[in-house]
């Protein structure tokens, strides 16, 4: 099944916020931000900017009628800085003008002075200075302190992973239109309409029922619009409310990259104990998370790091501690994988250490420690319908791993400066929001009197195809053609109190709610048909848009609907779904946190030019656990896109700040994401057979995040290439593995030799 939103997309007819035809007189806003990472504002002079042509007004914290607060989990983030600024790019003022250009010009006329303070940019430095978002969190399994003595070997190490810019192609955007009775309607490019509604209401100091948030679609989200779309909606709403005119705020790319948070960089320490045979007995890990200047979703991200600290391995004794460190960069936020990738990179690095110590290939260590049915995760849940070994075995045999290994070794013998590398990357990712209460959704289904169907859910379409999946679900349950099913915008007046479309759960939660609503109406329709046709319920069937009694066609769908309407049958249903059986006790860090897990195994091959440090990802092949996919084209597209994004994070995407906390990689000229040349020549994602998932809609599994983590395999394949060049390579576990880092690492080793 294809993504149905795309018929508009290929013709350039899809409307994103910047494309909306807003009423005449709509004003345009631009944000004035801090250009230092830490300091106290001593003076601001806006007089020249206010006098600038076209400028209507300038807003600051003192113009906020409600509370100057946008923090979701912890109330520690203001919409506009009041006296202290905490990062470069922190919003201070909003300039509103008749045109975007005039607003932009006025920005340069604002004069500001600060008393500068020393910024903290490194999470370990923040930890030493006691600058934390919240107290550390620990997950424990077994008895780690008792087991070290039983280990044949113990290895320790440090692992660093970098941030990642979301680079959704559509930048953050909002348009606010005032309505009668102090109401406001906000169009926002948000993954979380309810959170945006709450933030807007809080800023304006009005109840939530006076704020309507509407989302048609997003030009990509990836987590970057889960918590961080709301401030921009609130800014547009603040100005629209005060000026009683529509206000539009669309960030340009440089502002977007500078102002918004990214994937959390992590610095981690591990200690791993294992036997002669490579069986892992104990794993202790400490994650220092760079949260940025405010909490945002950092504590939830950190928690998922702990949930996934052992990836798809069973380790009987684990102690994992996460420390969220407050620094002077923009508040880091949700990004596909949500802390999971950072955790998995550390355990894979630890396994690499084991393989070097025992002098056996890493895949043998990985294989020996894979999760089996019933194994316990560090949070107390047990692996059910565990596909770790199944996907591993299928991947290694399907992709002829041993043969590939031999041909790579042969190539490396024959080539001095070109070296091939290979790595296997298994994944295990839990599906459900780890905050249990968030696992709820609702759907509103109407059948109109002509038989056409309109559906509203809490899901936000951002390219992942959730609207197509919901259409499919309704079309299947009613057994009608998908063309008569339409998905409406996501709107807080139709689906209230919704969770963000995040955690890969959009189709699961909203699909299940849609299923329930459709089943409610279908039951009424069957009873209506029974009366209309004077038949037994057991004899009636709705199929392919027709109503049959004992296989004989009696009515068209449209006839059934119009007759049912005249019989006063309710043709609408609003249904609610909450994931059953999940719970998590935060005080003990134990519980069945996830509805299920997604598994899979990828094999990644690379070729490295050891003189230049440049490399090519030649091949990525995966056997992935999709459950029973009912939208194979969409799911494959999600998997491939996630893999490329994951490889980007591990290899070429590098966030750089200068020593003053100023972002250097602040545009697409300096921050590089994978382009079409980056796509591997061999790129295959296979469906794991027999992976039925009773907890998912139509036995499917969530797809958004899990394949991202196959990208970690690219790091280890490149490392393998480097070690083929120099078996005793001295290196650090540090990502991204840019060509620059490859070259510096290789040349560092050469120098060492010469000096000796």
């Amino acid at each position: 099944m294809k993504n149905y939103d795309i018929h508009q997309h290929v013709q350039g007819k899809s409307i994103f916020i910047d494309d909306m035809r807003l009423p005449a007189g709509t004003l345009h806003a631009e944000i004035f931000t801090s250009n230092i990472a830490h300091g106290i504002i001593t003076s601001i002079d806006t007089s020249a900017a206010l006098a600038s042509k076209g400028v209507v007004d300038i807003f600051s914290a003192s113009d906020i009628p409600g509370e100057n607060q946008v923090g979701g989990m912890i109330k520690d983030e203001s919409l506009f800085a009041e006296s202290e600024v905490h990062y470069v790019g922190q919003p201070i003022l909003l300039v509103v003008a008749e045109s975007k250009l005039e607003a932009r010009k006025a920005l340069s006329k604002i004069k500001i002075e600060y008393d500068k303070l020393k910024p903290i940019l490194n999470p370990r430095e923040a930890f030493i200075k006691g600058s934390l978002i919240a107290p550390p969190v620990t997950f424990e399994l077994g008895n780690i302190s008792a087991v070290w003595d039983e280990c044949d070997f113990i290895e320790e190490g440090t692992v660093e992973s970098g941030g990642q810019e979301h680079l959704y192609l559509e930048t953050q955007a909002a348009a606010a239109i005032p309505h009668e009775g102090e109401k406001i309607k906000v169009y926002s490019s948000t993954q979380a309409p309810t959170a945006t509604q709450r933030v807007v209401a809080g800023i304006l100091g009005i109840p939530m029922n006076k704020v309507e948030v509407d989302v048609l679609r997003l030009g990509g989200g990836f987590g970057g619009k889960e918590d961080q779309a709301s401030p921009f909606a609130a800014m547009a709403a603040l100005a629209a409310n005060k000026l009683n005119k529509p206000v539009k705020l669309v960030l340009n790319r440089q502002d977007d990259i500078r102002i918004t948070g990214k994937r959390h960089p992590y610095s981690s320490d591990f200690k791993i104990g294992f036997s002669h045979e490579g069986k892992i007995l104990a794993y202790e890990v400490k994650f220092f998370q760079n949260a940025g200047a405010a909490a945002d979703l950092s504590m939830a991200v950190l928690e998922r790091t702990l949930f996934h600290c052992t990836n798809s391995y069973f380790i009987p004794n684990v102690k994992a501690t996460g420390i969220s460190c407050k620094t002077n960069v923009p508040p880091n936020t949700a990004f596909r994988g949500f802390g999971g990738p950072q955790a998995m990179f550390v355990i894979e690095s630890a396994i690499k250490k084991i393989s070097e110590k025992l002098d056996v290939p890493a895949y043998m260590i990985q294989q020996k420690n894979l999760l089996r049915e019933g194994d316990e995760f560090p949070y107390g849940q047990r692996a059910e319908n565990c596909n770790a070994k199944k996907s591993w075995n299928e991947a290694l045999s399907k992709f002829k791993y041993e043969e590939r290994l031999q041909s790579i070794n042969q190539f490396n013998l024959e080539n001095k400066f070109l070296k091939k590398g290979i790595a296997v990357m298994p994944i295990c990712f839990g599906i459900s929001f780890t905050s249990t209460f968030m696992n709820q959704a609702s759907a509103l289904v109407h059948i109109y009197t002509d038989g056409s169907i309109g559906i509203s859910t809490a899901a936000v379409e951002m390219g992942q195809g959730v609207n197509t999946k919901i259409r499919q679900i309704a079309a299947k349950i009613f057994s009608v053609d998908i063309s008569i099913v339409k998905i409406e915008s996501t709107n807080t007046t139709r689906n209230a109190n919704s969770s963000p479309t995040a955690a890969s759960s959009g189709a699961d939660l909203n699909g299940k709610a849609t299923e329930l609503a459709c089943l409610n109406i279908k039951e009424r329709l069957l009873n209506s048909a029974k009366e209309i046709l004077n038949a037994d319920l057991s004899e009636i069937k709705i199929e392919n848009g027709s109503i049959f009694v004992n296989e004989e066609k009696k009515l068209d769908w449209e006839e059934l609907i119009s007759k049912s309407f005249l019989k006063r049958v309710n043709l609408s249903s609003h249904a609610y779904y909450a994931t059953p059986k999940i719970y998590f006790d935060k005080s003990k860090s134990k519980g069945n946190a996830f509805a299920y897990h997604v598994y899979g195994t990828a094999v990644v091959e690379t070729t490295l030019d050891c003189l230049r440090g440049t490399y090519k990802i030649n091949s990525v092949k995966a056997v992935h656990d999709f459950g029973e996919s009912f939208s194979k084209t969409i799911d494959l597209g999600q998997a491939e896109g996630a893999i490329i994004q994951g490889i980007g994070w591990m290899t070429m995407e590098e966030i750089c700040h200068d020593l003053n906390g100023r972002l250097l990689s602040n545009a697409l000229s300096t921050y590089k994401i994978p382009d079409i040349h980056f796509t591997p020549d061999e790129f295959e994602v296979h469906f794991l057979e027999g992976a039925k998932n009773p907890m998912g809609i139509f036995n499917s599994k969530a797809i958004g995040e899990p394949p991202f983590m196959y990208g970690i395999g690219a790091y280890f394949a490149i490392l393998d290439s480097m070690k083929a060049h120099n078996k005793n390579l001295d290196y650090d576990f540090k990502a991204p593995m840019t060509p620059e880092r490859v070259l510096l690492t290789l040349s560092k080793n050469i120098k060492t030799k010469i000096h000796k």
């Binding site: 294809k2 993504n3 939103d5 795309i6 018929h7 508009q8 997309h9 290929v10 013709q11 350039g12 007819k13 899809s14 409307i15 994103f16 910047d18 494309d19 035809r21 979301h166 680079l167 959704y168 192609l169 559509e170 930048t171 679609r217 997003l218 030009g219 990509g220 990836f222 340009n252 790319r253 440089q254 951002m462 390219g463 992942q464 195809g465 084209t633 969409i634 494959l636 597209g637 491939e640 896109g641 893999i643 490329i644 994004q645 545009a667 697409l668 000229s669 994401i673 994978p674 382009d675 079409i676 040349h677 980056f678 796509t679 790129f683």
Partner: protein
């Protein structure tokens, strides 16, 4: 600011306009003609979301001034379908699942169209070369390559 009078062909129609010499072509197309299929992704010619055809060649409309198009022919994504019938590239982008969020799609299709204009039978490497200036953050580009490849085959059959 003195306005500049220009005449150009926009999606097959001759148009006369007066433009401010400082206005970028992307803003001119979007604001004056409502052609919002041409998207701004970066504003510095790196992402390709604003790609249009200027006299048969794909260009970034964020890097060109509106006054530079005097006497030239412009094709935007809105002009690609022929009286409601989708171009085969559009069909194949649909068929192959080459579209996710849709923001890069118009520019991507226009770049592919320009490639096929100049080289009706490109090899895979030539396709990659032609699309290298169009970034997509959702897909793994694989379906995009296959959608363009599929459009070549149809072309040969039709010829």
């Amino acid at each position: 600011m003195q306005m500049i009078a220009i005449e150009f062909n926009l999606n097959g129609i001759l148009v006369k306009a007066e433009v401010n010499p400082g206005v970028r072509l992307i803003d001119f197309l979007r604001d004056e003609y409502g052609l919002t299929g041409t998207k701004e992704g970066c504003g510095i010619g790196e992402c390709g979301a604003c790609t249009i055809i200027l006299d048969g060649k794909a260009v970034n409309s964020c890097l060109i001034l509106a006054c530079q198009i005097d006497g030239k022919e412009i094709l935007t994504i809105e002009g690609l379908a022929n009286s409601g019938e989708l171009h085969r590239l559009q069909e194949n982008f649909l068929k192959k699942g080459a579209v996710q969020c849709g923001f890069c799609t118009p520019g991507m299709i226009i770049s592919a169209y320009s490639l096929l204009l100049l080289n009706p039978n490109p090899a895979e490497q030539e396709i990659r070369e032609a699309i290298a200036g169009n970034l997509c953050r959702c897909t793994g580009y694989k379906q995009i390559i296959s959608a363009i490849e599929e459009s070549i085959v149809v072309n040969i059959e039709n010829d």
